[in-house]
């Protein structure tokens, strides 16, 4: 197990390096810079001397290879650099955004799993029924509805019309503020989980070992619990792992809509301001989150299915 974790951790390094290089080179060629972003509001007459001093302070006059070398050597010492905008260490800029992002991703995934998996399971147990049809139409709708529109709809219904929940904002420890953004973000993975679970259950139900178990007189509840569920879980877990891994990056629209202070909204702000060190830091966090979640999913396989070995 420990060998597996060490091996997977080492495998992350080339992925991270590749991401760092790609982001670095993209922002070396795209038009616009931190200095021109300062003028974007059209109200700042920052003088040429100050701009020159800024260039010098942030090393923006250095050639691209020098800047890349400085960044990578800093990264190896866990130094993500200094934010151009706030002039604080990037780690200090990222730190307060991390927990809100994790919280939102976990809450959205919890919603998706709690609703999506039972729906998919029940639909598969009654294939072709009205319940199955309604569930699958809902799932397809959930996959296709724009998050932005859904978020506004949730605000309108649950905040403005019913007055049950706040329409926006983040309060540490407040579940009420988390519910609407989590649902808006979780509907799409919920729909995917429902469809995946249904397909998986139908597949397993037609497997030889299920037929054999039924023939041997195993009760339906035990069959579902001990044989079908356990076998479907690997597929469901894989889907959940991929979804939760990508939710942090996908949450950008929802974070902006609900004024949620996550990594995604920080990334958007930093791209607009060409605050490259923060962009790189935010992308690194999102990539690391994805890789770690998927490593945990691989570890979980062994717990669910003894035939799978991670060592």
């Amino acid at each position: 197990m420990i060998g597996f974790i060490v091996r997977r951790t080492l495998q992350m390094i080339p992925t991270i390096l590749a991401v760092v290089l790609i982001i670095f080179f993209i922002f070396s060629v795209v038009p616009g810079s931190f200095l021109t972003s300062l003028m974007a509001e059209g109200r700042n007459m920052t003088n040429a001397d100050t701009l020159a001093h800024l260039n010098e302070q942030f090393g923006l006059n250095d050639p691209v290879p020098v800047r890349l070398w400085n960044y990578v050597t800093g990264l190896l010492q866990f130094d993500l650099g200094i934010s151009y905008r706030t002039r604080e260490p990037v780690t200090s800029v990222l730190a307060p955004r991390l927990w809100p992002s994790v919280q939102l991703a976990l809450a959205a995934m919890t919603f998706a799993a709690v609703v999506g998996i039972p729906l998919g399971f029940l639909a598969a147990l009654r294939p072709g029924s009205l319940f199955d049809g309604v569930t699958m139409v809902t799932a397809v709708s959930g996959l296709s509805v724009p998050e932005f529109w859904l978020g506004l709809l949730l605000m309108y219904v649950f905040a403005l019309q019913l007055g049950w929940l706040p329409s926006f904002g983040y309060q540490p420890g407040s579940l009420r503020h988390l519910i609407l953004p989590a649902i808006a973000l979780g509907v799409s993975p919920m729909a995917l989980l429902a469809r995946t679970t249904r397909a998986g259950v139908l597949d397993v139900m037609n497997a030889d070992f299920v037929r054999t178990a039924r023939a041997k007189g195993v009760s339906e509840p035990r069959l579902v619990r001990a044989h079908i569920t356990r076998n479907v879980l690997v597929l469901v877990l894989t889907t959940m792992g991929l979804q939760i891994g990508s939710l942090m990056g996908q949450a950008i629209v929802i974070e902006k809509l609900f004024s949620w202070p996550g990594i995604g909204s920080l990334l958007v702000d930093s791209v607009a301001a060409r605050d490259i060190p923060v962009v790189q830091g935010a992308v690194l966090v999102i990539v690391l989150w994805f890789l770690i979640i998927n490593m945990l999913v691989d570890l979980a396989y062994a717990l669910i299915d003894p035939r799978i070995k991670v060592a």
Binding site: P31, R43, R87, L160, S167, F168, L266, D269, A272, A273
Partner: protein, 530 residues
Amino acid sequence: MLTRLSLMAALTLATATSALAQAETPQQGGKFVFMAPYASSITSLDITAPPHTQDEIVASAINRSLYSWNVEEGKPQLELAESVERSEDGKTYTYKLREATFHNGAPFTADDVLYSYNRLADPAKALTGAEKVLGIAGAAEFQAGTADHLSGLRKIDDRTIEITMTDLTDPGWSLMSNFAPIYSKDYPEEQLASQPMGLGPFKLANYIPGARVELERFEDFYEEGKPHLDRLDIMLMGEAAARDVAFRNGEIDASILGPVQYEAYRAEPQLADHILEVAEVYTRNIGFNPNVEAFQDKRVRQAINHAIDKDLIVSRLLKDKAFPAVSWLPVSSPAFDQTAEPYAFDPDRAKELLTEAGYGDGLSFSVTATPNESWGVPIVEAIIPMLARVGVTVTADPVEGSVLSDKILSDNFQAFIWSNSSGPDPLTYLRCFHSATPQSACNYVKFSNPEFDALLDQAGAEADPAAQLELLKQANNLLQEEAPLWFFNYNKAVMAYQPWVHGLKPNAVELAIQDYEDIWIDDSAPASRK
């Protein structure tokens, strides 16, 4: 004429609203929740580093500058000084500082002023707020590295300072800026970004980066009985529809409206009664690059001004959330000429001018534009058919904000559409068209006119404010005649507020920036605000 009437009506409305608010007796206590309309989150609580409006909103509650902007009178006023004396040559100002204390209890002294301005001008710190102190004598030498402080600053005693300027410019215009706050010389600089400490009416209670800033009343604020509020929450949200839901749901007390919401709120009586609007000092314009040969001829530039029906665009596309522009300086500028007429919508005259200039067969150019709904691609799309009628072919060159400024500063455009500051200081903002001002500063269209330069030089050297204003009016009128821009509109900023909120002011510099110490809420406010 209609334009002028609508401008005056708007100003009158704003002034009347403000006056009404002041006539009432303020109540103490409660919380005010303000939502500002910015997509980007608050960058830093140290306002001297990032030059962003959203940061200024918070800074204006926490900090104080030597001067402040008097919204009612439309001019700078002393803030941290009780009195000022001007020398005979008009360049040296001696200030008697007021008694005040910082949030940590430290007394405010002359040393804090010297520290703050020297810190701003220090080239090693590369602070964007430096431009606010560049008029102080010795700034150029400090910036160039040949001096280690501003020689124009002198401490006379703990409560008296002397500031020498390089010219006759009133220092109030630049030193009133929120980007030039007075910090405590003893407070750790590295803490300013997340734990600011100033002289303002509110001190920091809680900061959740990306979400909100919670401020609480500073008991030892130097103005007796102020602030009225116990707490002030400031949040940002770029999405207008979401702000609308939050406002209607009573979660926020004031919100800046976009064009769609403005139209909707005006149609609802219970909301229409609580709208504050003002002509802000932003001029939306299309700038013509003289690298395009046709734009070197002022008749072409004038023809474009005649060919576009800006009133139609303002009413249909912007839902009247803008004032059609007359010239560069906005209506709220002291140098705005009330008798000046805007370019009339006259396609026939436009055709005549184009023919006279040798472009009777037409011309074409592209306009670099962001997606902004009020001064971006949608506006370019609206003018395309209007200009086509006079034989001018326009294409849109869509870009994002930082690319727009990048293309302009690198002279890589034919024309651009932008929203630029045009006040409140008329001299500073007219200097954007002085031939000595580089394109990288703010002379984006490389305007060069000896007559205009002479008027500005005269104004800069004029000690009599009334005479200076007259020269600036002439310069602004000349700019209109020369038409280096298509003068589109002045932003009409609109704020909706809840019925229990009082003391908001029609701040033409930036409506989202309020005198928070004057805001109060009455008994009809919900329990969550008490």
